[in-house]
């Protein structure tokens, strides 16, 4: 197992290097000159001395490495060649700079990451907590009225885009019923501490959580239902029933174990997804999360932040796949990864 993991980690490193180069090249192809954009901010300050503005621009080109070819710039970003005489890349712990926020890129991402993980953990637990029992219930009562009703409901939920759901829920729960705030992350001007702070945050997170959960119900419920239906038709289930086992034991102990394997991919995928924000939900609810940071960085051509984010997601994705593969082995003894 250890050998297998080490091998996979080695592959991951190669994949990350290739992807980082590809991504860097893609962003380098976009016609944008960071040095010019930064120099232009001082256009008014140098109005009476345009030559000095040009000097500022040339200095910035040297400092940012935009006077070099793209491969040199990439190697400088990684940290294996110097830019303007200095090694200041990933290997030196320099993860880039956000020109939009005037801060190192990693500092810009800390708070949104915290917020995104906070909301996604709850959303994921809530969604799994609802969809798995619901999927099992539907599979067990397949073809019944309740199953049909849930199937219709989930397909409707699955079909409605999340921004429509969000707007409908805001109108209903925040504007009409006034149960929840429209948007924001905490009561303006509040200075709560401890449990009170947590409850205040939950009050603001409740509606986006409900929207995210509602929107994810359809897919997962149907997935669990399909997987469980297949499991319930297996010979071993018939045997278990023939043995006279209680229906609960048959369903939750025998059938569910068999239905779990395809579901694991999805469940672990969801947990990996807690790092990525929802652009729509975060924008509509004014949440300072990863989705918003990502789209803002792309819009404002804050490419070093985008690159860092994408590299992070690549790493999480690769690690996630490794975890899924290992989890398969744990869930199903037939699948063992020893090589």
């Amino acid at each position: 197992m250890g050998k297998y993991v080490a091998k996979r980690l080695g592959y991951m490193l190669v994949v990350m290097l290739i992807l980082s180069l590809l991504m860097y090249l893609v962003y380098a192809m976009i016609p944008f000159d960071r040095a010019r954009a930064e120099a232009d901010k001082f256009r008014e300050a140098y109005k009476q001395n345009p030559q000095q503005l040009e000097q500022v621009y040339q200095n910035l080109r040297k400092d940012l490495g935009t006077d070099q070819n793209v491969i040199t710039r990439y190697l400088g970003w990684v940290g294996v060649v110097p830019i303007n005489g200095q090694y200041k890349g990933l290997l030196q712990g320099n993860f880039g700079y956000s020109y939009d926020y005037n801060k190192p890129a990693q500092e810009v991402l800390v708070e949104p990451m915290r917020n995104t993980i906070f909301i996604n953990i709850f959303a994921t637990i809530l969604a799994l907590g609802v969809t798995i029992p619901l999927g099992i219930f539907c599979a067990v009562h397949r073809g019944g009225k309740r199953d049909t009703f849930i199937q219709v409901l989930t397909i409707v939920g699955y079909s409605i885009p999340i921004f429509i759901t969000a707007i409908l829920f805001i109108w209903l729960f925040a504007v009409q019923l006034r149960w929840f705030p429209v948007s924001g992350m905490k009561t303006p001007g509040s200075d709560y501490k401890g449990m009170q702070k947590f409850l205040d945050e939950m009050k603001y997170m409740a509606l986006p959580l409900i929207v995210m959960t509602f929107s994810s119900l359809g897919g997962m419920t149907r997935y669990v239902r399909a997987s469980m239906t297949e499991a319930l038709s297996m010979d071993c289930i018939r045997t278990a029933r023939a043995k006279g086992l209680r229906e609960k034991v048959v369903v939750y102990s025998h059938a569910w174990r068999n239905a779990l394997i395809p579901v694991i991919t999805l469940v672990i995928g969801w947990f990996i997804g807690i790092f990525s924000g929802s652009i729509m939900v975060e924008n509509l609810f004014g949440l300072n999360g990863m989705g918003r940071i990502y789209i803002n960085a792309l819009t404002n051509k804050d490419f070093e932040v985008v690159l860092l984010l994408q590299m992070f997601y690549v790493m999480v994705g690769l690690l996630g796949n490794l975890i899924i593969d290992i989890a398969y082995g744990i869930a199903d003894p037939r699948i063992r990864v020893n090589k």
Partner: protein
Amino acid sequence: MKKILCFVLAAVLVLCCFASCNSDNQSSSQGGDSSSQADNSGSGSTGDGEKNENKVIMGNSTDLSGDFRWPGFGSSSAGASDQDIGRLTVGHATMAPNQGGAYVWDETVVKEHTEVEDENGNLVITIEINPGLKFSDGTEIKAENYLAYLLAFSTKIAQNAGHSAQVGQSYVGFNTFAAYMGEDVDYAALAEYRAKAAALTALQEENPDATMEDVVLEEAVAPITATKEFSGIRLLGDYKFSLTINAAGGYYPYYFANTYGAVSPYPMAQVLGEGVELKDDGNGCYLSESWYEKAADSNIEEDAATFTKTDHLTKARYDVSTYPFSGPYVIKEWDSGTKQATLGINPEYAGNFEGVKPQIKTIVYIKLTSETQLEMLKTGGTDIIGGITGGEDTKDVLDAIEASDGMLTETHYQRSGYGKIQFDCDFGPTMFQEVRQAVAYLLNRAEFCQTFTGGYGVVVDGPYSPDFDMYKAVEDEIELIAYDYSPDNAKKVLEEGGWIYNSKGEPYVEGAEGVDAVRYKKLTAEEAAATNGVNKTYSSVANDDGITYQTVEINGEYYMPLAINWFGSQPNDVTDLLTTTLSNNDAVKTTGMVIRATQGDFTNLRGNIDRNPSMGYMGVPVYGMYNLATGWPTAVYDYSYNWSLDPNYFVYSSNKLFDEYDKAYPYYDTVDAEGNPTHTKKTYEEAVAASGDKLGMDYLSMAMVYDATTTEEYNHWWMKYIERWNELMPDIPLYSNYYYDAYNSKIENFKTSPFWGTAQALVYANVANAAD
């Protein structure tokens, strides 16, 4: 496992419900300290007997970044919300913009000021501040607090921190002070290194492998003149200082020269850190040597000086808790996680330029999104939403106000600026005044404005706001062409401009097909050679109909087609509307013109305007027409150098319009002994007479600010500038929209204007029937 899952699920559900239900409890348990969004009454106006919490929630669509101490840090890229926080927390400046955008002396701060010319023609502004002014921590504000910023942000230390470090550029002695990096620096050696580095760059163009060792300087290098004193900035006492505006540097005479006397006080520790003193021994202010302390990696000999105080500036920029504030408010809390800033009244604040002190106890800045901001206002989640514009949004806001039963109200103003079509005037058809005028005649601007703004906007005929004092002063006198929609006028000006041929050099025939569907103009040799001869090969792009219009050569003469290449940014509603109303307009076609549309992102648009290859410009100018917007945040109206014929100022020339009148009668009319161009100052009447009433854009824009000495004279120059602009039409103003600020009617005396944003307005506002 099942049990754990059930427990977690139940816990989450209970927490959500409990948190929601708890909102009311929190409001009461906090003694009204929180404004419940879920409860309308918590933030809305109340009945007669009920008290309102003395708090205002200010919603804004731009993110707060925490850059509040020096928003933008010397650049022009500060966010609107950061600037608002800066305006509310930095105060007691010597001058302040008033409601009309003009800078006035703040008599709460300034006890006395004088403006006199010295023997060198410089303007010396001496300012004595009132004793007793205080920062929020009770420490007294003294003259040195005004000067520390000017000095520190004119040094290499600030430059290394990412600041322009040009703060003191208008004062005498700036260049030598800015060059100073401490007494331990060998300035002669540094000068030699810089000369060698410059020579190496030149050498490397021929030999890329050249190194410093290959460089041989043929002439002795003059040492860098660096002085520790800033001679134009003087500390004359605890409460008195002077600033000398540099005449030789071109900063005086200048119509707005007294605005160089506008300086704000900062705590010494915030600007300079610990251990640095500001002194004046009689030759000018200076900072003690500890300011110039070098960092461990500093390499002065190779022009790579680094300083320990650079780190201090970088940290102080975002430090909202260590140092006190001078403005009407202090930052009580900045939550970078939720992007909320909470401001409280500064008890030591002595009042603004009108002696006004804030009355609203707490202001909370929150981030809003455009999709839900109106719902936030309706439900009390915010008390103010600002800058609503556009037909649909404005209508929605006004409907909400009408339906609110008096809970909401609004204030509005006409934007000081407009959306526009901008032309490149140095190549292609748009280099000709008649073409630009014809486009203006072919676009029904009134209808465009009505459609785009939903009726909440007006059309102007030049680069001005009707709210400008100078416009009001000359309103009855100014003569502007209205450019009302008229295909006939378009045709007429085109014919007068020589657009009378077809592609064979024969007379243009209306209704012709193919490449002869548009008019052609026979170019003079000078016109054909303009901008490196690009007109000789000019052609239309984005030819979706398969027809390419291009300049043709007939018997050695060049005929240019009336095919305008337009670049519009996307996503942009103006671009979409212009496509319908202009480029696909039948009147354009029947007039013998074609407008070819290319759409792309804004960076690409800017790259083409600036002709910057690294931003998507392909090396040869292609587009002659763009759509974008412009505005004036203050009434300091200065377009000097924007129309200069000097190629050095090309970067400031948005339109690349080089006025024929300026070529015939230039602003710089003589040359001094060293070969530098000089200007002979004339009054408005003298200049009009001497030029035969043909003053160009460069002359007018320069004279407006550098020759005018009185308001009346300035207004004359300004009027003439606007008239000439209106005639040349380098831009076509499309719409000047109204901005609506909608707010909870519990807020009283809240009035914004084009130059008076929400931050300034909040200082005058109060909460009706406030609880304390």
